[in-house]
Symmetry: C2
Subunit: 490 residues, 2 copies
Amino acid sequence: MPILGDTGGEEKGLGAMSKEKRVDVAIIGAGTAGLSACSEVRKATDNFVLLEAGPHGSTCARVGCMPSKVLLQVAHDFHRRHVLGQEGIYGSEHLKVDYRKVLQYVRSLRDHFVQGVLQTVEQLGDHNIQGRVRFREPTVLEVNGQVIRAKRVIIATGSSPIVPGEWQAFSDRILTTDTIFEQEDLPSALAVVGLGAIGVEIGQALARLGCQVTGITQSEHVAGLTDPKVTAYMRETLQHEFPIYTGTITEVAGEGTQLALRFGDRTTRVASILASVGRRPNIAQLGLDALGIPFDTHGLPLYDRTTLQVKGYPIFIAGDVDGDRAVLHEAADDGRIAGFNSVQDEPHCFQRRTRLSIVFCEPNVAVVGRPFAELRQQDIAVGEVGFERQGRAKVMAENTGLLRVYGDKQSGCLLGAELAAPRGEHLAHLLAWAIQKQMTVFDLLQLPFYHPVIEEGLRTALRDLSRQVQASRPGFELAVCDSNAVADLG
Amino acid sequence: MPILGDTGGEEKGLGAMSKEKRVDVAIIGAGTAGLSACSEVRKATDNFVLLEAGPHGSTCARVGCMPSKVLLQVAHDFHRRHVLGQEGIYGSEHLKVDYRKVLQYVRSLRDHFVQGVLQTVEQLGDHNIQGRVRFREPTVLEVNGQVIRAKRVIIATGSSPIVPGEWQAFSDRILTTDTIFEQEDLPSALAVVGLGAIGVEIGQALARLGCQVTGITQSEHVAGLTDPKVTAYMRETLQHEFPIYTGTITEVAGEGTQLALRFGDRTTRVASILASVGRRPNIAQLGLDALGIPFDTHGLPLYDRTTLQVKGYPIFIAGDVDGDRAVLHEAADDGRIAGFNSVQDEPHCFQRRTRLSIVFCEPNVAVVGRPFAELRQQDIAVGEVGFERQGRAKVMAENTGLLRVYGDKQSGCLLGAELAAPRGEHLAHLLAWAIQKQMTVFDLLQLPFYHPVIEEGLRTALRDLSRQVQASRPGFELAVCDSNAVADLG
């Protein structure tokens, strides 16, 4: 690694300077992005440090994807009791939930997943330093009183739930994803404020488990959807499980053990609030603002999104801290790119994967490729399917959903999709892969769709789309062979 | 349609010949393939007949895919009670199954799906003739005493379950998919003989519902798998739900209300047998053997599998009757091809979809692309993943499964896969699409895999495969951009 030179290691016996540690790369944050960066950095140099201020274990494993998915799984399993009677299974009225046991179960699985992350960190031995980091200069950090001089720095400090300042007086009754899985018991009545991915997942889970949930959102949008038809469908579907109000909360007041929330001309009284109004980058305490680095309007150093390098500095930004594509697989890619580039002479830019976000409520919600709101309506054709009458969805007694696919009106090239669908997480992968491979709707219709599967619903939407595309369309879904010898596609 | 001429329609007032009906196309069989053929034929001519001897409604809707999927859904829902306790949901010991209600539910949904097929048939009006068909000449048919002279004939008569001749003495206690869904009650003890797709699906469903099921199979293979590791895994998994014996049944004897089955040195006593040893084409009664058409060893006219035309005759073979790829989407494709070709001067050959078969037991079983047994071991590398420790599978408490992917050892091109996996039906679609698009394992690893999803298990297998491929492998999963301008993949 010529660019990193050979002067690494701790400077010893230099008096006051003896506390200074010189490394090739300092990675700040031992979450998904930081650990991912670490695995790339180690391929090039053993002279690096991984610095972590907070608890180890990654947002995903500790307070994000994993515990929320476990809670949802329990909620979906309990909710399933409503279809058992019609199927000929009786006795479902005896099923009850023990909230304390549910939360213990969530934590026990959560701990299992966190353990996996901790083991990775432990294997780093002395490379791993626990402590709060401050920048003294762009490549000089201070942690636990020690100075670390790095050739390159990777900032992968993640993000934290936003709790509006005026709510902090009631902080014992304001829950976030950082605290909800730590509760001994679930609240009997809860306001979920903000209905993005987290609000919808936790809101539906708690409602299904029997909490009295009230959803409050500032916009009409839910679960990250932008397509007005899918949004309206999903909102209506969620409304069957808990009431949703659109409005801005103007006041939160304590009334004994309750909180009174005022929004519009309504007041709702609840035991707790789940604040799911967004996350902010963990960057304020790093002292970056004193270094003269130019910042964007979100308070982040200006950086190149293709290389993840902060413009003009040997600093890289990776993971949720950048507020962009805050999902695990993108954070992991960020980490790999930042880690790889941190040990190169010149940073490389990388082709990112097709955008994909999934909300694991029922029906699953997903936004794939270009969201509806980003597309010019005059350029696209839209194919649609509802799942009420879809064969397999009826067999599963999960026949709720609406899926819309967007294709280029001229060529039929698939551009994006938004959906609320049973098994939507899997349809979303098919769609994302097809979009990344730049497939047209006609290419897609040549592929196998088994029977009876939810994927046949997707095919209905694709056929609908294909009829609206202006490109000359094949008369037949199957391709005609070029010769008499039929290629065997396996 | 010049090839079909303009002489169609019923010949009137010609004395003895007045009973002769002249049509462009006669389609024998109103199931999936026949109706599919019909929809293509109608685009070219209104002068056709659809002839059906048996009950209308398609094998799939009446006695195949649909009722079996409903029965499995109920069984899986009932089986789920075993995980509720650990999740914090109590009272599952009160869940009981009412077999009669389960069967009523299966039939009520089945009737709904059959109704859809019947409506399609009814819309055909006079084109649709009910009656048993016999060939007099290759293009002259007799049905209900009427002679039909067709320019082209499509044979789409489907298949029927095989019941070995020596069992017929106990026919009231021998069940097949034709009769099992018609039962008022389920047998307390049942031998499932033959553990292909049908045997495994019905066997697991009945075992999960509480019947005492014994599985008996002539070979080590189950559920259509050919990969020895996946086969062994799946057999072992099924054995936890019902005993499976390998052997040939040498004797079936009545003992009061019971049947005693002898195989090897064992005797098993059951109330009924489910015969799931295969299906035979419904062709014997058509009188084809008197026409001098050459037959293959399976008793089918020799036909071209790329055009579906019987060699040298204006006759086409479509759907399950051909014993090849007896799954609904292939039968539908067969029908479309036969229907399309029946109204052309020269038949076209069509590129078939990548092979895909799915068994809807839990874990789902699938064979995709080229089965393991068809591949030359020296040419391939195999990637593997087990689902015991896979994250999402653990969250779903469905962490049972083994997936193996086969790639070309030199290029990494994906060739096939066999799997037993949670949500395997969806993984199978991803794999089939990737195989048909001739993707390599490196192409696949550039695509998005969300978190936490079952698809990440597939990624583990792909990474395992990628490490064994000899092609020079990219150092990084993501593609490097060609220029500084990063293409936005949507």
